[in-house]
C-alpha cells in the first residue's frame, strides 16, 4: 500500500473500497435485471429516478458522499462520540413507539413526510461503536462476569426494543455481537450452552414432545450410569445432572410452547415450522381452524421459499444470463428486489455466479478480520469485529433463507439488496472501519 499518499486517501485500505464498489455494482445490476422492462431506454431510465435500479443508483451516490464525508472526519470523533450515538440510537428506537407508521405490518418505521426511517437499522452502527467503546475502556476487565453482563446489555437492549416493535428479524442481528465478545475473551462455554439450547429448541420442533422427554431422560440416565463412581464420591454432581435434566425438559415442555404462543407472531411461528416441513401445532389456540385440514400447511411463506428455490435451482451451473431469468423477471418470487435478490443472481448466473458472489463476501469478511487484527487500539479492533459480525449474520441468514436453510426473516443482503436505509447503514459501518484503519498507528480510546 502506498503510504506516501496524502489527504483523503492516506492510509485508506484500497482493497476494501474496491470490494465495496464491486458489491454495490452487483446489487444495482441485479435490481436492474429484476425491474428492467423490454423497450425502456436504459440510459434515460437510469437517471430518471423512476425505476428501482435508478433509485438504488442515486442511493449509492448519496451513500458515497456520506462515505467520503466519514473519511474526512477525525478518527477520534468516533471514539469520543460513541456513547452519544448509542443514546441517540436508543432514543430514536423509543420514539418509534408513539410515532410509528404502519408500513407493511411492521411497527418499526418512523415517517417524516415522504421519507421513511427505521431506527432499528441505524442502531446497528450505534451498538457497534458503543460496544467497542465499552470494551476498550482501560478499566474494563472483560474476564469479569459483571463486564460481560454490561456488554451483553449494550448489545441486546436494541434487540429487546426491536422485538417489542415486532421486528424479530432485526432483533436477531444484535445477537451477532456475541462474536465480538467471543473475540475479546467471552468464555466459549456460554456460546456452547447457547448452541445446545438452540439444538434443544430445534429438537423440540422436530421431535414429538413425549419422545423428546424420554430421549432426554435416557441421556441423563446413561450419563449418570457412566459417572456412577464420581456420583458416589460427590453427591452434588448428581444434583447437577438432575438440575440440567429438569431445565432441558422444562424448556422443551413449557418455555418453547410459551414463546411460540405468546412471544412470537403467528406468521413467524409458521415460518419456523415450515422450515422443518411441519404444521404449526400451536395454531389451534389462536388461529382459525380452516376447512380442508391438511390444506393449510401450504402458507404464503412456504410459497416464497418454494418459488425462491425454483428460481435459484433453475439457474443450473452457469445460469440463464442477465435478463433471461423467467422466474425472477416475471414476479414469481416475491420481494425479489429486496430480501430475495439472491434469487436473481442464482437464476441469471447459476452455481458459478452464486459461488463467486459468496467468495467475494468471504474475501470481504476475511479482509475485515485482517484489518481488525492489525489495529493497535482495542476500540478499532472491536469495531472491526462488530462490522464483520453484522455482515456475516446478514449474509448467512439472507442466503440461507433463499435456499431454504433458514426461516424467512426479512433482512437484506448487505450492499446488494434494494433499499436506501440498508445501503446507507452498511456504507457507514464499512467506511467508519476504513477511517479507523487509516489511523491504525494511533491508539484510540
Amino acid at each position: 500500500m502506498n503510504r506516501n499518499n496524502v489527504g483523503l486517501s492516506k492510509g485508506i485500505d484500497v482493497i476494501m473500497v474496491w470490494l465495496y464498489l464491486l458489491l454495490v455494482s452487483i446489487g444495482i445490476m441485479a435490481i436492474f435485471a429484476v425491474t428492467y422492462r423490454e423497450g425502456d431506454s436504459i440510459v434515460a431510465s437510469f437517471f430518471s429516478f423512476q425505476t428501482d435500479y435508478s433509485k438504488q443508483f442515486y442511493f449509492f451516490i448519496i451513500a458515497a458522499f456520506i462515505g467520503i464525508f466519514i473519511l474526512l472526519t477525525d478518527s477520534k470523533f468516533f471514539t469520543a462520540t460513541a456513547n452519544i450515538w448509542y443514546a441517540v440510537g436508543i432514543f430514536f428506537m423509543l420514539l418509534v413507539f408513539p410515532f410509528h407508521s404502519n408500513v407493511k405490518g411492521t411497527e418499526s418505521i418512523i415517517r417524516f413526510g415522504g421519507f421513511q426511517f427505521q431506527p432499528a437499522e441505524f442502531c446497528k452502527v450505534s451498538v457497534c461503536l458503543a460496544l467497542s467503546k465499552y470494551l476498550s475502556r482501560p478499566d474494563t476487565d472483560f474476564t469479569k462476569g459483571r463486564s460481560q453482563l454490561i456488554a451483553m446489555a449494550i448489545a441486546l437492549t436494541p434487540a429487546m426494543l426491536s422485538i417489542m416493535q415486532s421486528e424479530t428479524g432485526l432483533a436477531l442481528v444484535y445477537f451477532s455481537f456475541f462474536l465480538v465478545m467471543y473475540r475479546e475473551g467471552l468464555s466459549p462455554t456460554i456460546l456452547v450452552i447457547g448452541f445446545s439450547m438452540a439444538v434443544l429448541v430445534v429438537a423440540t420442533i422436530v421431535v414429538e414432545p413425549n419422545t423428546l422427554a424420554i430421549i432426554l431422560t435416557a441421556i441423563a440416565g446413561i450419563y449418570a450410569y457412566f459417572n456412577r463412581r464420581q456420583i458416589k464420591r460427590r453427591k452434588s454432581s448428581l444434583v447437577t445432572i438432575i438440575f440440567v435434566w429438569l431445565l432441558c425438559v422444562g424448556v422443551q415442555r413449557f418455555a418453547v410452547p410459551f414463546i411460540f404462543t405468546h412471544v412470537l407472531q403467528k406468521h413467524q411461528v409458521e415460518r419456523i415450522f415450515s422450515l422443518f416441513g411441519k404444521d404449526n401445532p400451536y395454531a389451534k389456540g389462536f388461529m382459525a381452524v380452516q376447512e380442508g385440514g391438511d390444506a393449510k400447511k401450504e402458507g404464503v411463506n412456504d410459497y416464497n421459499v418454494k418459488q425462491s428455490k425454483i428460481a435459484i435451482g433453475s439457474g443450473g451451473v452457469v445460469g440463464k444470463g442477465l435478463l433471461n431469468g423467467t422466474q425472477t423477471r416475471y414476479d414469481f418470487v416475491p420481494e425479489q428486489r429486496t430480501d430475495f435478490i439472491f434469487c436473481t443472481i442464482g437464476e441469471g448466473f447459476g452455481f458459478v455466479g452464486t459461488t463467486l458472489l459468496l467468495v467475494i463476501y468471504l474475501i470481504l469478511l476475511f479482509r475485515i478480520v485482517t484489518l481488525a487484527e492489525r489495529q493497535r487500539s482495542v476500540f478499532s479492533r472491536c469495531y472491526a469485529y462488530g462490522v464483520a459480525a453484522v455482515f456475516f449474520f446478514h449474509i448467512t441468514i439472507n442466503v440461507a433463507m433463499t435456499v431454504g436453510l433458514a426461516p424467512v426473516i426479512g433482512i437484506p443482503l448487505p450492499l446488494v439488496s434494494y433499499g436506501g436505509t440498508a445501503l446507507l447503514t452498511f456504507t457507514i459501518l464499512l467506511f467508519i472501519l476504513i477511517r479507523l484503519d487509516a489511523d491504525r498507528q494511533m491508539v484510540l480510546r
Binding site: 475479546e184 475473551g185 380452516q290 401450504e298 412456504d302 439457474g315 423477471r329 416475471y330 452464486t354 431454504g404
Partner: protein
C-alpha cells in the same frame, strides 16, 4: 496493544468458511445435482395451473343457499408459447375478427408480459366453450381452458345486498400487498365485498407434466410442489329467501326500498331496493352487457336505496316525536291538542292536517292513529323550547341527541359497505342558514318528519325495532355466523352481537302509549287495509312531500309512500320499513307491501286473498313519470357530448328529429304539464353524465345537480 485471545481470530475465520461451505453445498445441491427445479421453471415441460377456490356459499335462515357456485371457463393464452396458430379459425370460434384478436393479444402482452398466461376471453359462454373444447387440440400450443367458479343464485334474489364480484383491478392488487393477483375475482359491493376475506378462500397451484404434444399427463414430482386451495367459507344469514323473493316481486316496477328486521336479534330478514334486477345479470359473461346498461339508467338500479336512499320520513317519524316528549315529561299519554285542521300557533297556518276537529287528537293514542300534523308539530316545538334547557338551540341539540339515539342521522353500521347516514341537521346548520336567528317555528315541520330531516329505510326499520324492543336494539346485520368461525371472524361479528340500549330509560308506559297508538293505526286509523286477521300489527303510514331540482328549478313531485310497522305487538318478530317513491299515500302502496311481507314471514304462507293482492301489487307500475324525462335529458346530453367529442352525429340525430314537437311529447310523458318548462330543450344535464364521461365534460352550470346527494325523485 493486546494480543490476548488472538488465536480466536482463526476460529472465527474457520467459522466463516464452514458456514459459507454449508451454503455452497446447498446451492450445489439445488443448482447442479437436482434437475427438478430446472424443469419446474421450464413452462414447456411443466404446466403451472392455478386453481381458483370456490367462493363461500351464502345461506338463508333455513340453510337454503342464496348464492352458490358453478363452473365456467376462461380461454387462457401464454403469448410466448403460441406456435403455428390458425388465427382465422380461432377468431371464427370466438366470433371476433383478426384485428380484434391482435389488439387483445397486444393488450395482454402489455399488461402481463409474454411468459405469463392471461385470459384472452374470460368466462366463455356455453356455446363458445363447447366449440372450443372440441377444437382445443388445434390450439394446445400456448392456449388452455382455465376453470373458474362463478356465482349462481338459485332463487334469483338478493342482488342489492349480495353485491357482485369483478376481476381485481390494478389498484386493488397494489393495495392488497400481494394477496390478490391479476385474474382474481374480488367482491365489489354488498356482502361479497364486506366479507371478502372470508368468502374468498385461498388459491392453489398445481404443477402438471406436459408431454411433447403439450398434453397434460400427470402430477409433477407427485405433487411435492403443489399448493392446495382452501375453499371460501360459508355465511349463515338471517335472510328468509321466500320473504325476500316476495319483497322483490312486490317492488317490481317501483322505485324505493324494503327493509325487514328481526327486532330480537337485529338480523335482516329481507332487503331490496327498487328497481331491482336478477342478480345473475351481473355474473359471468352477462356482466359487461348489463353493467353498462344499468349505469346509464337514470332510475339507478345498482343503487341500494335501503341503505343509500335518503328520504324525509314524513309521518312515520311521529311515534318517535311522541316518545321524546313523553320521556322529557312534557306530555302524558292523555295530552291532547285542539287541532282544527291547521296549525296556527306560528301564525302561518301550516302545516295543514288531514282531519279537522272531532277530537281526533284528544290523546297521544288518537293523535298517532289519526296522524295529526298539528299535534306532533306542537310536541316538537315543546321539546325544542323545553324550558329545562333554556333556548331553542340547546333544546334542539337535546332533541337531536334523542334522534341519534334512535339511529337517525348516524351510520348504523350494517354489514354492507357505503351506508349513508341520513340527515338530522346540526344546530350549526340552522345557525348558518338562518343567520343565527331561528326559533322552533322556523323548522316546525321537523315534528312531522320533513324540513331538512332525511333517513334511510334501514334507519326507519331500526327505529321500529327500538320501539318494538322498548328501548334496545342490535345493529342490523345479515350474517348470523360464519362456518368454522375463527377469532378474526368473531372480531368482525362481535359488534353485531352487542345489545345497544340507548333508550331503555324511556318508561314502558311511554312505549306502551305509542305502541297502542300504532296498533290503532291499523285497526282504526290510516292503514286499515294493512290489517291481518289474528296478528296485531303496530304501524305508521307516511306520505312525505318531496322536491326535485331540474335545471335549477324546484319541482314538487308526487309524495313518497312510506310505511313502517312491527308485529305481533305482544312479541315482535319482524319490523318492516317500506318506501315507494312518488306513489302517493302511505296506505296505498307501501302499506300493502309491508303487510304482505309480515303475513308471509309470520304465517309462512299467504291467504288466497293476499295472493291476489300480491299479484295486483306486483303488476302495478309505479315508476315515477319524471324518470322518462330525466332519461331523455341524460341520453340526449350524452349524445350531444359524443357529437362534440367525435363529430359523429349518429347518436344526436334521433333527438334532433324529435325536436319538431318536443314539448307535447314530453308533457304527456311526465303528466305534469305545468312543471315541465325547463325540459323543453334537450339540454345537457344530469347525474349519469358524471359517471359515463370524465368530470370535465359536465357543464359548469350543472355542477350543483351532480353534487346533490339525495336521490329523492
Amino acid at each position: 496493544m493486546s494480543v490476548f485471545n488472538q488465536s480466536r481470530s482463526y476460529i472465527i475465520r474457520i467459522l466463516f468458511v464452514v458456514v459459507f461451505l454449508l451454503i455452497i453445498a446447498q446451492l450445489f445441491n439445488l443448482q447442479v445435482v437436482s434437475s427438478k427445479y430446472q424443469k419446474l421453471a421450464q413452462e414447456n415441460a411443466v404446466f403451472r395451473k392455478v386453481i381458483y377456490p370456490p367462493r363461500g356459499i351464502v345461506y338463508d335462515r333455513k340453510n337454503r343457499a342464496i348464492v352458490n357456485n358453478t363452473l365456467m371457463y376462461d380461454l387462457m393464452v401464454t403469448p410466448s408459447e403460441v406456435k403455428g396458430l390458425d388465427t382465422a379459425y380461432l377468431c371464427q370460434l370466438l366470433e371476433i375478427d383478426t384485428a380484434e384478436f391482435k389488439a387483445r393479444m397486444l393488450n395482454l402482452i402489455f399488461k402481463n408480459g409474454r411468459y405469463r398466461p392471461s385470459a384472452l376471453e374470460p368466462l366463455l359462454s356455453n356455446e363458445k366453450y363447447a366449440r372450443l373444447q372440441e377444437n382445443m387440440w388445434r390450439f394446445n400450443r400456448g392456449f388452455f381452458l382455465q376453470e373458474r367458479p362463478v356465482r349462481t343464485y338459485p332463487f334469483n334474489v338478493g342482488a342489492h345486498f349480495m353485491g357482485y364480484i369483478g376481476e381485481a383491478d390494478p389498484k386493488i392488487i397494489a393495495q392488497s400487498n400481494g394477496f390478490y393477483q391479476p385474474g382474481d375475482y374480488v367482491g365489489r359491493s354488498g356482502l361479497e365485498a364486506y366479507y371478502e376475506r372470508i368468502l374468498m378462500g385461498q388459491r392453489g397451484v398445481q404443477f402438471l407434466i406436459k408431454d411433447n404434444k403439450n398434453r397434460l399427463v400427470g402430477n409433477y414430482e407427485n405433487g411435492e410442489f403443489d399448493t392446495a386451495f382452501v375453499a371460501g367459507r360459508g355465511l349463515r344469514t338471517y335472510v328468509d329467501v321466500e320473504v325476500q323473493k316476495l319483497a322483490e316481486k312486490l317492488m317490481t316496477n317501483k322505485v324505493g326500498a324494503v327493509v325487514a328486521i328481526e327486532p330480537k336479534t337485529g338480523g335482516i330478514i329481507a332487503m331490496t331496493s327498487g328497481p331491482n334486477f336478477d342478480p345473475s345479470l351481473l355474473t359471468g359473461s352477462n356482466f359487461k352487457k348489463t353493467y353498462g346498461k344499468f349505469v346509464l339508467d337514470v332510475s339507478r338500479p345498482l343503487l341500494n336505496r335501503a341503505i343509500k336512499g335518503q328520504y324525509p320520513p314524513g309521518s312515520t317519524f311521529k311515534p318517535l316525536g311522541g316518545l321524546v316528549a313523553l320521556d322529557e315529561g312534557l306530555i302524558t299519554p292523555s295530552f291532547g291538542y285542539p287541532c282544527g285542521g291547521r296549525y296556527y300557533a306560528c301564525g302561518i297556518g301550516k302545516p295543514a292536517c288531514t282531519h279537522s276537529g272531532g277530537g281526533h287528537a284528544a290523546t297521544l293514542r288518537l293523535a298517532i292513529a289519526n296522524s295529526c300534523n298539528s299535534y306532533f308539530t306542537h310536541v316538537y316545538r315543546m321539546a325544542a323550547d323545553n324550558p329545562k334547557y333554556g333556548g331553542v338551540k340547546k333544546g334542539y341539540a337535546k332533541w337531536r341527541e334523542y334522534m341519534n339515539a334512535f339511529g337517525l342521522g348516524t351510520r348504523i353500521g350494517i354489514d354492507l359497505p357505503s351506508e349513508d347516514k341520513g340527515n338530522i341537521p346540526d344546530t350549526s346548520v340552522y345557525n348558518k342558514v338562518y343567520r343565527n336567528v331561528w326559533s322552533s317555528c322556523t323548522n316546525l315541520t321537523l315534528g312531522i318528519g320533513q324540513d331538512m330531516m332525511t333517513a334511510t329505510p334501514l334507519q326507519l326499520a331500526n327505529a321500529m325495532c327500538i320501539i318494538a324492543n322498548k328501548g334496545y336494539y342490535y345493529t342490523p346485520h345479515f350474517v348470523k355466523s360464519v362456518d368454522n368461525e375463527s377469532k378474526e371472524d368473531t372480531a368482525i361479528l362481535s359488534k353485531f352481537r352487542v345489545k345497544h340500549e340507548p333508550l331503555t330509560h324511556i318508561s314502558d308506559s311511554a312505549f306502551n302509549a305509542v305502541i297502542w297508538g300504532m296498533q290503532d293505526v291499523v285497526t282504526a286509523g290510516t292503514a286499515r287495509g294493512a290489517a291481518i286477521p289474528g296478528i296485531n300489527i303496530c304501524a305508521k303510514t307516511g306520505t312525505a312531500q318531496n322536491f326535485r331540482f331540474i335545471n335549477g328549478k324546484k319541482i314538487e313531485l308526487n309524495e313518497n309512500s312510506m310505511f313502517v310497522c312491527f308485529a305481533p305487538r305482544e312479541n315482535p318478530k319482524i319490523a318492516v320499513a317500506v318506501v315507494v317513491e312518488n306513489a302517493g299515500f302511505g296506505s296505498t302502496a307501501a302499506a300493502p307491501i309491508a303487510s304482505l311481507l309480515v303475513e308471509k314471514f309470520l304465517n309462512d304462507t299467504l291467504r288466497p286473498e293476499s295472493v291476489k293482492k300480491a299479484q295486483a301489487m306486483a303488476e302495478k307500475n309505479l315508476m315515477p313519470s319524471i324518470l322518462a324525462l330525466e332519461q331523455h335529458i341524460a341520453d340526449s346530453a350524452r349524445a350531444y357530448k359524443w357529437y362534440e367529442m367525435y363529430k359523429d352525429s349518429s347518436l344526436i340525430n334521433k333527438y334532433l328529429n324529435r325536436k319538431s314537437s318536443p314539448t307535447e311529447k314530453k308533457d304527456s310523458d311526465t303528466k305534469q304539464p305545468d312543471k315541465t318548462e325547463p325540459a323543453k330543450k334537450p339540454t345537457p344535464a344530469p347525474q349519469r353524465v358524471a359517471i359515463t364521461f370524465r368530470a370535465e365534460t359536465v357543464l359548469p352550470e350543472e355542477r350543483y345537480i351532480v353534487k346533490r346527494k339525495t336521490p329523492v325523485v
